[in-house]
């Protein structure tokens, strides 16, 4: 401990809680939650967590599985001090503790990576990490933080530029920053809430090996997911929640997919198979498009592509290769510096988002909470974001509340969205998957002629993924053209008719989905020419 700063950083934890600093034995129970109950009275009548038992052992990866709205995030938030609990006890290494704030939790060695991003967008990666440190030293040497960050990102293979500002980063990159931010505190228990939703398969794989490595170091890892493959790939034990109730905890090696599916949602679910497209006229045409990124550097560098009616074009690529900017340029949210966007043959380059939407385009954006919804407004108000100007949603500048209610109720039942009260609850309290369903419902109910969707099934449980895939295929059959941007190759393959690979702002290859091979696409995404 020669470095005074390091001393400063670690002194607090060490000095205050010597018990925690002791290195845990392998297999020791690090955190145990007993009879946890959580309700939101006045919002929900039932308990969101109904007397749950849950524990994490040193050296294990513990998967937490459940449908959208099952209460996974709430449970994680309670363990990491973001929510208080209504009833129950939490023990850390056998000692009862009361966790009142995220800071308490960090001091006890529990850190959480949230499902949604919690980064300050105008600040750099390093600054964001420094923000979370509990020292209030004004002359904080950022270079120290940066050094440790570099070391961590090398150690765990999480590639990030510490000097980049958050708003310049793609979702996948931001995810890495979120993980680094928590790792910086070297927690003994790391909770990750759906960390793989926006990662490519390779990234997810490397994340799992990181998690394994962390478990080997004697930490406990809790890992929330919807994907069964990930459970088997990464975890030692698995706990299943269903609508707030504990269904069971078991050794991963002693269970199988069938059993988990049954526990989680009562029966096997198979994704629909796509049928060959009957393509029509060109719906969306992008010609030699150039777009600048947030920092003014070229992000899209000469992309041309076409999507025809009745066809789904999948854009595969690792986050940060220009797909966000491409989508924003097409939908009118970002300026096109060169090139053309034609929609149904009409030049819509640099037209307003409204004009473009009025051409009959639905847009499922990348960041559902930041752009896709107004979280402080009610659920009903979020349902009409794109339609409020149309009759019968409004008549002569007055909103038609009865119709809006009726419409929203229909959306809610068609898409199975968990909403306590249309006109009272703020949208922020919906679970991640339920917000995604809301956006999907809003952008597709009117059967648009063209859909631009960025990872549309992000955070959805298997049932909802199935529902969404069916929806996209149904719309395709009816002649809708779809531009599907995703890092999830499985999704790209199961929906697309053609696949284009984007790398560093250019399309490096386009091919028929039937002829494409996952392996080859993966290589192209990483930069090798097709």
């Amino acid at each position: 401990m020669k470095n005074p700063l390091k001393k400063l950083l670690s002194s607090k934890r060490k000095g205050k809680k010597p018990a925690v600093a002791r290195k845990p034995r392998r297999g020791e129970t690090l955190v145990r939650a007993e009879g946890i109950a959580k309700g939101f009275p006045g919002v929900w009548e039932h308990l969101i967590l109904d007397h749950i038992n849950f524990d994490v052992k040193a050296g294990e990866v513990h998967a937490l599985l459940g449908e959208n709205g099952a209460g996974k995030t709430v449970l994680a938030n309670i363990l990491s001090g973001f929510y208080s609990l209504t009833k129950g006890r939490i023990y850390v290494k056998g000692k009862p503790v009361s966790i009142k704030s995220p800071k308490d939790a960090l001091e006890l060695g529990i850190g959480m990576v949230h499902q949604e991003f919690t980064l300050a967008r105008p600040l750099t990666v390093t600054e964001n990490v420094a923000l979370g440190l509990s020292t209030s030293n004004f002359s904080f040497p950022l270079s120290e933080v940066e050094k440790k960050l570099k070391e961590l990102s090398e150690r765990y293979g999480l590639k990030v530029d510490p000097k980049a500002r958050i708003e310049e980063l793609s979702a996948g990159e931001q995810q890495r920053v979120e993980i680094l931010k928590v790792l910086y505190h070297e927690p003994e228990v790391l909770i990750l809430d759906e960390p793989t939703s926006v990662l490519t398969e390779d990234e997810a794989k490397s994340l799992f090996s990181i998690l394994r490595a962390m478990a080997k170091e004697g930490r406990g890892v809790v890992f929330i997911t919807h994907k069964f493959e990930e459970v088997f790939e990464s975890s030692d034990r698995v706990t299943v929640l269903r609508l707030g109730k504990l269904v069971g905890t078991m050794k991963t090696s002693k269970t199988n997919r069938r059993e988990l599916v049954r526990m989680m949602m009562g029966g096997e679910i198979s994704l629909p198979k796509k049928k060959p497209a009957k393509v029509g006229k060109i719906a969306l045409e992008v010609k030699d498009l150039h777009v600048l990124g947030e920092r003014g550097v070229p992000a899209v560098r000469g992309i041309s592509l076409t999507v025809r009616k009745g066809e789904i074009l999948g854009i595969a690529g690792i986050a940060g290769n220009g797909q966000s900017e491409l989508v924003e340029a097409i939908t009118g949210l970002r300026e096109v510096t060169k090139g053309k966007v034609l929609i149904f043959g009409k030049d819509m380059t640099n037209r307003s988002p409204r004009e473009i939407a009025d051409m009959g385009m639905g847009h499922i954006p990348e960041e559902r909470r930041r752009i896709g919804t107004a979280e402080g407004m009610t659920v009903a108000e979020n349902f009409i974001m794109k339609d409020y100007r149309r009759s019968p949603f409004s008549n002569r500048s007055f909103l038609n509340l009865p119709f809006i209610t009726q419409h929203s109720k229909k959306m809610i039942s068609e898409h199975n969205i968990l909403v306590p009260d249309l006109w009272v609850t703020e949208t922020r309290i919906l679970s991640g998957g339920n917000i995604q369903r809301l956006i999907l419902a809003r952008e597709t109910w009117w059967e648009p002629r063209l859909i631009v969707a960025t990872h549309p099934t992000y955070g959805l449980d298997l049932k909802a993924v199935k529902h969404t895939h069916e929806l996209f295929l149904k719309l395709k059959k009816k002649g809708t053209a779809t531009l599907l941007v995703s890092e999830d190759l499985e999704e790209i393959f199961s929906l697309s008719d053609r696949i284009a690979v984007i790398f560093e702002g250019k399309i490096v290859g386009t091919m028929d989905a039937a002829k494409a091979r996952v392996h080859k696409i993966g290589l192209m995404m990483a930069g090798s020419k097709g």
Binding site: R354, K386, L399
Partner: protein, 428 residues
């Protein structure tokens, strides 16, 4: 009827949290205020009893009556909330003499509650009650200015200057033109609102066109108005006295209801309701709130953010202009005139900020916050008369109470975090 009970329960349920918070905050504010009085050697209990006189409460019965009125008011609000759409229909049916048991009972309940409230009022001191109401008029209006700004994500603190402009505009029309009764009143009111809006237009345009932050521009314009309006009064609009405007002609005065309360209160209340409807029931209001809640989502939804900002400034300016007018043609202060010291309008705009915060940036919440504030203002004189508590100390006590009341709302706002509204360059 079971539906009614459900509605009441539901309404109280939604109110419970904020109501409890506000009451708790009020208690803390009162305690600190009591501490202040003790520190300066006054009896806090007697001091507060004198303050209650400002609300028209002179007796125990009066106090109970106020509690009863509050309870009845909540009941009425719950009832109207539950039958929001049906009451006008019921009235229309009665009007057309298509009497059904249902519509009669609907209207009868509303009338009965109103009747009960009017009976309760008899236990209060009429003069002071009206005085309190008179104080509340400009405050509920300037609260709108700030609240509508906040709803659109704008920190509009320009109400102060817009009030001055509205006041002098009303004084000009009211004192220098001979127009028929009715029309004169209308013209003076409308012109004041117009000038208030025009004064708000400047920061709006600066914001929209050049991205100038509204806090800076509105503060500067407040000062411009502060110096410009006295100039206008003395050099252009003075009457017999050089330092005040010509007396408002009788044709431009709102009729007096009692004490210094005039019919302008109905205009103010109507303005609150109109703004409420505008914000929550119209497309424009929806756009405005969406911009305030999440400008990125608003852009994504295809909303013209600039237009929404402009609308919020205009509504705010009109409300502030009306507030100014209410002190000139709607209140017999100094014999219906506006003094060059601006003493009768000074500070109304700034008070509106606190009131808006206490009223949770809601035009209807603002009415109640304004009444509370007005009662305290009006009670100040009794604290001074009865116990000789110096007016500065009274202001300090009021300030403490207001700050305490504002804290829950401020906390809620900060928890939510204010999203920075950026005017982006890009395709339109």
């Amino acid at each position: 009827m079971p539906r009614l009970f459900d509605a009441i329960r539901e309404y109280l349920g939604t109110l419970k949290r904020s109501l409890a918070e506000s009451l708790f905050a009020l208690l803390i504010g009162l305690l600190i205020g009591a501490g202040l009085m003790l520190a300066f050697g006054y009896d806090p209990i007697m001091g507060y009893i004198s303050m209650l006189k400002g609300f028209g409460i002179f007796t125990i019965e009066g106090f109970l009556a106020v509690l009863a009125i509050i309870a009845l008011g909540l009941l009425l609000a719950a009832f109207i909330g539950a039958y929001w759409a049906k009451i006008p229909q019921a009235l229309a049916r009665l009007w057309r003499k298509k009497i059904s048991g249902r519509s009669i009972s609907l209207v009868a309940i509303v009338v009965f509650i109103l009747f009960l409230i009017s009976r309760m009022l008899e236990f209060l001191d009429n003069v002071e009650l009206m005085e309190m109401l008179a104080y509340s008029v400009p405050l509920m209006l300037t609260a709108i200015t700030f609240a509508v700004g906040m709803r659109a994500g704008i920190f509009n603190i320009g109400a102060e200057g817009q009030v001055y402009m509205g006041a002098v505009a009303a004084a000009w029309i009211g004192g220098h033109f001979a127009l028929p009764t009715g029309l004169h009143l209308l013209a003076a009111t409308a012109f004041a609102m117009l000038i208030g809006a025009a004064w708000a237009l400047l920061p709006a345009i600066l914001k929209i066109r050049a991205g100038v932050h509204e806090v800076i521009s509105t503060i500067m314009l407040n000062w411009v108005a502060f110096f410009h309006v006295p100039y206008l009064i003395i050099n252009r609009f003075a009457g017999v006295h050089a330092e005040r405007t010509a007396t408002i002609l009788p044709t431009a005065r709102y009729p007096i209801l009692g004490a210094s309360l005039t019919a302008v209160i109905f205009v103010a209340l109507a303005a609150c309701v109109v703004v409420y409807i505008l914000l929550w029931r119209t497309r424009a209001g929806y756009e405005l709130r969406l911009v305030g809640d999440n400008p990125d989502a608003a852009r994504y939804a295809g909303i013209n953010i600039r237009r929404a900002i402009l609308i919020s400034f205009i509504i705010g300016g009109m409300a502030a202009g009306l507030a100014g007018a209410s002190q000139v043609i709607g209140r017999p202060l100094l014999g219906w005139t506006l003094p060059a010291t601006l003493g009768t309008v000074f500070g109304l705009g700034f008070s509106g900020i606190g009131i808006a915060v206490i009223g949770r940036n809601h035009p209807i919440g603002g009415i109640f916050a304004a009444l509370l504030f007005a009662g305290m203002l009006n009670g100040a004189k009794f604290m001074e008369y009865d116990w000789g508590i110096s007016s500065e100390l009274v202001v300090a006590i009021q300030g403490v109470i207001i700050i305490a009341l504002a804290i829950p709302a401020l906390l809620a706002m900060s928890r939510r975090g204010v999203r920075r509204l950026k005017i982006r360059r890009g395709p339109r």
